[in-house]
C-alpha cells in the first residue's frame, strides 16, 4: 500500500488525540481501582529488580568519576555534594526513564498489542466498555506511580553507593561527605527529579498504549509495535529530560551561585 507523506503527521495527531482522551479519562469516574493496583504491582515487579541492578553500578561509576575529579582539582570536601547532585538531578531520572520505557513500557505495549490482535479490544468496545477508561487510564497512572517510586529508589541507592565508594573505598571521611550534602544540593532538586519521573512514566505509558492499540498484522505486528514503542519513548524521554532540566535552571535559583 502506498505510504502518504502525511502519514507521520497523522500518527502524531492520533497520538495527541489519544493522550488528550486519556488525560480527560484520568478525572472520570468510576475509576478502575483494582486494575490500577494490579498494574502498579505488575509494572513494579518487572522494573524494580533491573533498576536496582542498574543503579548500583551507575552510582558506583559516578562516585568513581567524581571522586577522582574532585581529587584532581583538590575539592574532596565537595565529593558528597556533587555525587548527590549528579545522582538526584540527572542519574536517577535517566535510569528511571531507561527502565520505565524499556521494561515497563514494553510490557504495557506487548500486553495491549496482543489484546488488540486477538480482537479483545474490539470485543471490549462492542461490549460497551471503553478500553481507554478500562485499560489505558489505570496503566498510565500505575506507570507514573511506579516511575516516581523508582526514581526515589535510584536516588537512595545512588547516594548510598556514592557513600560506600567515597568513604570506604576511596578513603574519604563520612563527616565531610555528609556535611557537603547540604552545601550545593537543595530540596527542589529532589522535587524536580520526582516530577521528571512522573512525566517520564506518563509519556512512556502513553506511547506504549498508542503503539499497542494500533498494532496490526498478527504476532509480528506486536513485536514491531513493542520495538517502535521503546525507541520512540527513549527519544521522547531524553528530549523531555533536557527540556525540564533547562527550565529548572532558569526557574529555581541555584545555591552558592
Amino acid at each position: 500500500m502506498a505510504v502518504s507523506p502525511l502519514a507521520p503527521v497523522r500518527g502524531a495527531g492520533d497520538f495527541f488525540a489519544l493522550s488528550l482522551d486519556v488525560l480527560r479519562g484520568l478525572f472520570k469516574r468510576p475509576f478502575q481501582f483494582a486494575e490500577f493496583v494490579q498494574q502498579a504491582w505488575f509494572i513494579a515487579s518487572v522494573t524494580i529488580f533491573p533498576t536496582a541492578l542498574v543503579s548500583i553500578p551507575f552510582g558506583a561509576v559516578l562516585a568513581l568519576q567524581i571522586g577522582n575529579l574532585t581529587k584532581q582539582i583538590g575539592a574532596q570536601s565537595f565529593t558528597g555534594a556533587v555525587a548527590v547532585l549528579g545522582v538526584v538531578r540527572e542519574a536517577s531520572p535517566i535510569v528511571t526513564a531507561l527502565l520505565i520505557a524499556g521494561a515497563g513500557g514494553s510490557a504495557i505495549c506487548a500486553d495491549l498489542g496482543s489484546r488488540k490482535i486477538r480482537e479483545e479490544i474490539d470485543a471490549m468496545e462492542v461490549l460497551g466498555v471503553s478500553p481507554l477508561a478500562r485499560l489505558v487510564v489505570p496503566r498510565v497512572l500505575a506507570c507514573m506511580l511506579v516511575a516516581v517510586f523508582l526514581n526515589g529508589m535510584v536516588a537512595v541507592v545512588g547516594v548510598m553507593g556514592g557513600y560506600f565508594f567515597n568513604v570506604i573505598l576511596q578513603g574519604g571521611t563520612p563527616g565531610a561527605y555528609l556535611a557537603s550534602f547540604t552545601a550545593l544540593a537543595q530540596l527542589p532538586d529532589l522535587y524536580v527529579g520526582e516530577i521528571k519521573a512522573a512525566i517520564f512514566g506518563l509519556i512512556a505509558a502513553l506511547v506504549a498504549a498508542y503503539k499497542g492499540l494500533n498494532a496490526k498484522g498478527g504476532p509480528k505486528g506486536v513485536g514491531d509495535a513493542v520495538n517502535q514503542s521503546v525507541v520512540i519513548s527513549f527519544m521522547l524521554l531524553f528530549l523531555t529530560n533536557f527540556i525540564i532540566t533547562a527550565i529548572y535552571f532558569q526557574v529555581v535559583p541555584q545555591k552558592g551561585g
Binding site: 486477538r118 480482537e119 479483545e120 468496545e125 462492542v126 461490549l127 460497551g128 471503553s130
Partner: protein, 359 residues
C-alpha cells in the same frame, strides 16, 4: 423482538484501497441473514462498520432510528448495547477464565448480584454446551469451545442484534451442524436479528432467511434465500454452488482469457433448493416464511428436486412432480402437504402456511 438494520450507500476505504462501495441492504428485524463473499472482500470489515468500530467514508447505517455513522462516541456505546458479536476467534479476554469472560458484560453494565450473575452465566454456558469448563482459561480450550464461549458472552445481555464472524471456520462438520442448529434455535428463542458471515456453503444454503453476496468491491445481490438459490446470475450461482466455472477465479477475478476459454462449457442445471433448517422442536421461527413462498410470489420455478420430502405447489403448477394445486388459499401462498415420507421422519416439517409461528 430484534431491530432492523438499514444500510444505505455505504462505502469503506482504507487509504486509497476501496474495500466495497455503495452497499445498500436492509436486515429485516428478527430474521437470519448470511453474508457471503470470497476471502478478503471485506466481510469482517462490514461487520466492524455495522458496530461502529470502523467509520465508513460514505453512506448511513440506521439502527433503531439512529444513524450510527453520525452519532457521537458516547452514544455509540449506548447503541452497542443492542449488539452481541461473535468474533472470528471468540476474542475472549486471555487473562480471565471462561466464567469471568461470560460474566464480564453483566458485571460492567448491570447491578446484578454475583448470585444472579452466576445463574445467568451457568444458563448460557449450558445452552452453548460449555458446562464444566468455568475455571479454564481461553488458552486451555479448543477453538470450537472458544467460539461457543464467545457466543455465550455475546448472549448474556439479551442482544437485539447478533453478528457472527465465521462461526463455523475451523470446526469439524459435526460441530458445524450442531452450531447451525444452535443458531436456528437461538433465533427462535430470543428473536434477535442475526447476521452470519460464513464460507460454508451448506450453512449458507440451509440456515438463513436472506443471503447477501459481496463481490468485486460491491454487494452483488441481497435477498431472500430462495431468490439467490434460484438465481442464474453467474457470480451468485458460482459462489452458492461452489463451482469453478464462473467469473470468480483463484485471485479474486479471472482474466479475459480464462473467461473466453470457459465460454463453451455448459453450466448445468442448478442444484435443488434444500429445506430450511428447522428448529429442533420443529416449531417455525417467528420470522420464518413457509418454503417456496418467495418462489411462488414471484412465479419462479425452483430447480427440479427442490424441497425434498415436501409436496409443494407452485403458481403455474408445471414444475414439481407431485404438484397438487390447492385452491382457496387466496393469498397466493403455498400449501404444504407433508408427504408420507416426511411424515414418517423424526422431526416432521410442518409449518402453518401463513408463516406465523406458534411459539
Amino acid at each position: 423482538m430484534g431491530v432492523e438494520i438499514k444500510v444505505e450507500h455505504l462505502t469503506k476505504r482504507f487509504g486509497r484501497q476501496t474495500i466495497w462501495e455503495d452497499v445498500s441492504l436492509t436486515l429485516p428485524a428478527g430474521e437470519i441473514s448470511v453474508l457471503l463473499g470470497p476471502s478478503g472482500t471485506g466481510k469482517s470489515v462490514f461487520l466492524k462498520t455495522l458496530i461502529g468500530l470502523l467509520k465508513p467514508e460514505n453512506g448511513s447505517i440506521i439502527i433503531d432510528g439512529k444513524d450510527i455513522t453520525k452519532v457521537r462516541e458516547k452514544d455509540l456505546y449506548e447503541v452497542r448495547k443492542l449488539f452481541g458479536v461473535l468474533f472470528q476467534d471468540g476474542a475472549l479476554f486471555g487473562s480471565q477464565n471462561i466464567y469471568d469472560n461470560i460474566a464480564f458484560p453483566l458485571r460492567e453494565h448491570t447491578r446484578k448480584t454475583e448470585k444472579e450473575i452466576k445463574d445467568i452465566v451457568l444458563d448460557k454456558m449450558e445452552i452453548t454446551g460449555l458446562s464444566g469448563s468455568e475455571r479454564k482459561l481461553p488458552g486451555e480450550i479448543s477453538g470450537g469451545m472458544r467460539k461457543r464461549a464467545g457466543l455465550a458472552r455475546a448472549l448474556v445481555l439479551d442482544p437485539e442484534i447478533l453478528l457472527f464472524d465465521e462461526p463455523d471456520s475451523g470446526l469439524d462438520p459435526v460441530r458445524t451442524a450442531y452450531l447451525n442448529q444452535l443458531i436456528v434455535d437461538l433465533n427462535a428463542q430470543i428473536q434477535a436479528t442475526f447476521l452470519i458471515v460464513t464460507h460454508d456453503i451448506n450453512t449458507a444454503r440451509t440456515v438463513p432467511d436472506n443471503i447477501g453476496l459481496l463481490y468485486r468491491r460491491h454487494l452483488a445481490m441481497f435477498g431472500p434465500r430462495e431468490m439467490l438459490l434460484s438465481s442464474n446470475e453467474p457470480v451468485v450461482r458460482q459462489f452458492l454452488n461452489a463451482q469453478r466455472e464462473g467469473p470468480i477465479g483463484m485471485a479474486e477475478e479471472k482474466d479475459a482469457g480464462e473467461l473466453e476459454a470457459e465460454k463453451g462449457t455448459e453450466l448445468g442445471a442448478l442444484p435443488p433448493i434444500p429445506i430450511q433448517l428447522p428448529t429442533s422442536s420443529g416449531k417455525a421461527r417467528l420470522t420464518q416464511r413457509p418454503p417456496g413462498s418467495w418462489l411462488n410470489e414471484h412465479g419462479v420455478e425452483p430447480p427440479p428436486g427442490s424441497f425434498p420430502g415436501l409436496d409443494l405447489a407452485f403458481g403455474n403448477g408445471a414444475s414439481s412432480a407431485h404438484a397438487s394445486v390447492s385452491a382457496g388459499n387466496g393469498t397466493g401462498g403455498v400449501r404444504v402437504v407433508p408427504a408420507k415420507k416426511a411424515a414418517a421422519r423424526k422431526a416432521p416439517v410442518k409449518r402453518p402456511a401463513t408463516g406465523r409461528g406458534d411459539g
